[in-house]
């Protein structure tokens, strides 16, 4: 069977999630590879979520927010445009192709663009192939032992 990438999409509630909704309502077809996590703002997306996604086996991660200047919270996405490039540098050092992390602006009216981004990114991940990280092997047998880190 051909490789189908697992993609995690972090979508801001006001623009991109609504845009995704519009794509759905408009019956615009897009690749089913993306699993969506809604956050109120792209500024809520903690880099740790993205690393966690890679750790748990995501082949690519897309963060989508409102276009610059259109943020429902005025400037949340300006934090995102600094976090994602920073994180790209980090994952590159970790040996992950930075193309596997993408930041896209999709407004509430851009259902077609949402589908386009998803399709295009999915296609790119197909070309890049599955992401195999050492941490997948390392965690494989014993499961995640580092329990102490998060005990919320």
């Amino acid at each position: 069977m051909a490789f189908e990438p697992k993609i995690v999409g972090f979508l801001c509630n006001w623009c991109s999630y609504t845009g995704a909704d519009l794509a759905g309502v408009s019956r615009i077809k897009s690749a089913p590879n993306m699993r969506i996590i809604r956050t109120m703002c792209s500024g809520r997306v903690d880099p740790a979520f993205i690393l966690k996604a890679f750790q748990l086996g995501a082949d690519g991660v897309v963060v989508m927010g409102c276009h610059l200047g259109d943020c429902h919270y005025q400037e949340g996405n300006y934090k995102t445009i600094r976090r994602i490039p920073f994180l790209k540098k980090l994952i590159e050092q970790f040996g992950i192709d930075p193309r596997r992390l993408r930041l896209e602006w999709v407004s509430a009216s851009e259902g077609d663009r949402f589908a386009e981004v998803v399709n295009e990114f999915t296609q790119e991940m197909r070309t890049l192939g599955p992401l195999k990280l050492p941490v997948h092997e390392l965690m494989g047998k014993n499961g995640e032992r580092a329990k102490h880190a998060v005990h919320e």
Partner: protein, 586 residues
């Protein structure tokens, strides 16, 4: 008050009233030429002469500027006056034999043919009769003083100072209006003043914005009002009995604090010049729907008469639907209101003229209550419905009288034929589109737009009047094309929403909020300037940061930024999102 006797009438008038006015009151006619209510009497034409008798003395005066005095009696038609007037009239007629106003007056005064031959005879129909009204009105009323007399005696003439176009002229046209012979003409060489919203008909500088304006009071267009150019005129103030005209009022920007806002900023109409094939702005008698609406209006430029530019009634009228809407090149959506107003146009044109009416439609959408019935009625009235969007409009000629007309080329899809239909008048049903400044408005209220450019409602079915910004509602065409009943319904619903909040007195806010877990915060202050709402404050005494929950909108930017995860976001905690990740990546 003084009492005077004019001919056989006694009349009581205030002191200093000119005799002419007093005569008017007494119902006695005195011929005038240079007299105008608008300006100071000038007494130059001498036609208004009367004989004033005081005791045994009598003298001949110009009644327009001779004030009444107690005890005088006035003879307006004594033999002496008759003889003098005739002489004056003969002099005028000999000099300007073809000017209508002179000829009419002469006829009235019984002068058939002058007994003189003027050496300065001017045979023009619109010759200047040197009444000076233009000069006076420019000086006294407009206060521009752009016109004046030059030379003396027989060579006297009205000129622009030094014969050149005057910078003082405000192009008000008062001189043109006052000129009794049509000698003064306005030639617009340069486009001046602001572009009128519609090019149909004249508009005065003081006007009621629209018949439906609320409050329905006139406004002054300060850019074209003479008073604001020269300080003169004030005619409107003179005629306004309740003294409601106030030239000192200024536009002012007021700041009003409100808790909720209904955005009902309306729409723009599609500019049909973008579809050059229909000739709008290029060919005569091609109108946009709003222009035609104005034309049909009883207070419109033609008083509601359907007529062409040449004043004739059209033989046929074409109405093309979907101009700019349902069109992949412009707006893909349906403007919703056009089908029905096009039918209304057809009905009104049918009612007022004998014109044949053709409608060119893609689909008829008579979707509302009573709409389909109206459509049926129109079909019975004999409107020709052609299914097919017109391809283009060309110029043509009627074969019988060689008059110009418009030719609509279209495919009639119901009979499967191409047709050319001559119409004298064409109405384009322009699309409703989002306002040109909707992007600024959108950003102002931080609301979204749908792909068509109209403001986006929170939910298309369950919440069609509120937006993603709390307290901001939308109604009417700002949200999408809709007709009046739908607009009223939406606006009413929005108003009800607003009122319900007002009566409640308190607002519910989403529980999605950030909160500082004080036991983990060490006061590094990284979060302190991240909040666009200023919800994060630093508590100096505790050396920790704190979130004001009423100000926080729950975006979570600070939650992601907090390096020690002391900031937590209700509804979207780290643990919740990580659990989601865990779930979706099994």
């Amino acid at each position: 008050m003084v009492t005077i006797k004019i001919d056989n009438h006694e009349v009581q008038v205030p002191e200093d009233t000119p005799i002419l006015k007093a005569a008017e009151k007494a119902g006695v006619w005195i011929p005038t030429l240079c007299y105008s209510d608008l300006v100071e009497p000038y007494g130059v034409c001498r036609l208004c002469i009367v004989e004033v008798v005081r005791g045994k003395r009598s003298r001949v005066v110009t009644s327009c500027n001779y004030p009444v005095r107690e005890g005088i009696s006035v003879l307006t038609n004594s033999p002496k006056i008759q003889w003098l007037r005739k002489s004056i009239m003969e002099l005028m007629l000999s000099r300007w034999p073809n000017v209508k106003v002179v000829k009419d007056l002469a006829k009235q005064l019984g002068v058939e043919k002058p007994s003189f031959i003027s050496l300065e005879r001017d045979e023009a129909e619109d010759a200047c009769v040197l009444c000076g009204k233009c000069v006076q009105v420019c000086k006294d009323l407009v206060k521009a003083e752009a016109l004046g007399f030059a030379h003396r005696g027989i060579k006297r003439e009205v000129v622009l100072p030094f014969g050149v176009n005057s910078e003082r002229c405000v192009v008000c046209g008062a001189c043109v209006k006052e000129c009794p012979t049509g000698h003064v003409k306005m030639v617009i060489e340069d486009y001046r003043g602001k572009k009128p919203e519609f090019t149909l008909g004249p508009k005065t500088a003081i006007y009621v914005p629209s018949l439906q304006a609320v409050p329905r009071v006139p406004v002054i267009d300060t850019e074209s009002c003479i008073h604001f150019e020269t300080g003169g005129c004030e005619t409107c103030a003179k005629v306004c009995e309740p003294n409601a005209i106030n030239y000192d009022m200024k536009d002012e920007v007021q700041e009003i604090e409100v808790g909720q806002i209904l955005v009902a900023t309306g729409y723009d109409v599609f500019d049909a010049t973008h579809m050059a094939q229909y000739g709008y702005g290029r060919l005569d008698n091609v109108y946009s729907s709003l222009e035609f609406e104005m034309l049909l209006n009883s207070t419109g430029p033609t008083g509601g008469k359907v007529q062409m530019k040449n004043g004739k009634e059209p033989r046929s009228v074409g109405i093309i639907h979907c101009i700019g809407s349902r069109d992949a090149n412009h707006h893909p959506y349906c403007s919703r209101v056009c089908c029905m107003y096009a039918l209304k146009f057809a009905h009104l044109v049918h009612d007022r003229t004998k014109a044949a009416i053709y409608q060119f439609y893609i689909d008829m959408r008579a979707f509302g209550k009573g709409y389909e019935e109206f459509y049926s009625r129109l079909l019975d009235e004999g409107i020709t419905m052609i299914r097919g969007k017109a391809a283009e409009v060309a110029e043509g000629y009627w074969t019988d009288n060689n008059e110009r007309t418009l030719l609509i080329r279209c495919e009639d899809t119901l009979i499967g034929k191409f047709r050319e239909i001559p119409v004298d008048m064409l109405v384009l049903c322009n699309a409703i589109e989002a306002r040109h400044d909707s992007d600024q408005v959108r950003k102002l209220f931080s609301i979204s737009k749908s792909p068509d450019g109209f403001f986006l409602e929170r939910h298309p079915k369950l919440d069609p009047t509120s937006t993603t910004t709390d307290g901001v509602y939308i109604a009417g065409c700002a949200q999408g094309p809709k007709d009046i009943p739908d607009t009223v319904a939406q606006a009413g619903s929005a108003a009800a929403r607003i009122l319900s909040l007002i009566s409640k007195g308190e607002v519910e806010i989403d529980p999605v909020r950030a909160m500082v877990q004080e036991e983990f915060c060490s006061g590094c202050r990284i979060c302190n300037n991240l909040c666009p709402y200023g919800a994060i404050e630093y508590l100096e005494e505790k050396k920790i940061s704190h979130v004001n929950e009423a100000l926080c909108k729950g975006c979570g930017t600070c939650v992601a930024a907090c390096p020690s995860s002391a900031m937590t976001g209700y509804g979207f905690t780290d643990a919740q999102i990580l659990a989601e990740l865990d779930g979706i990546l099994i």
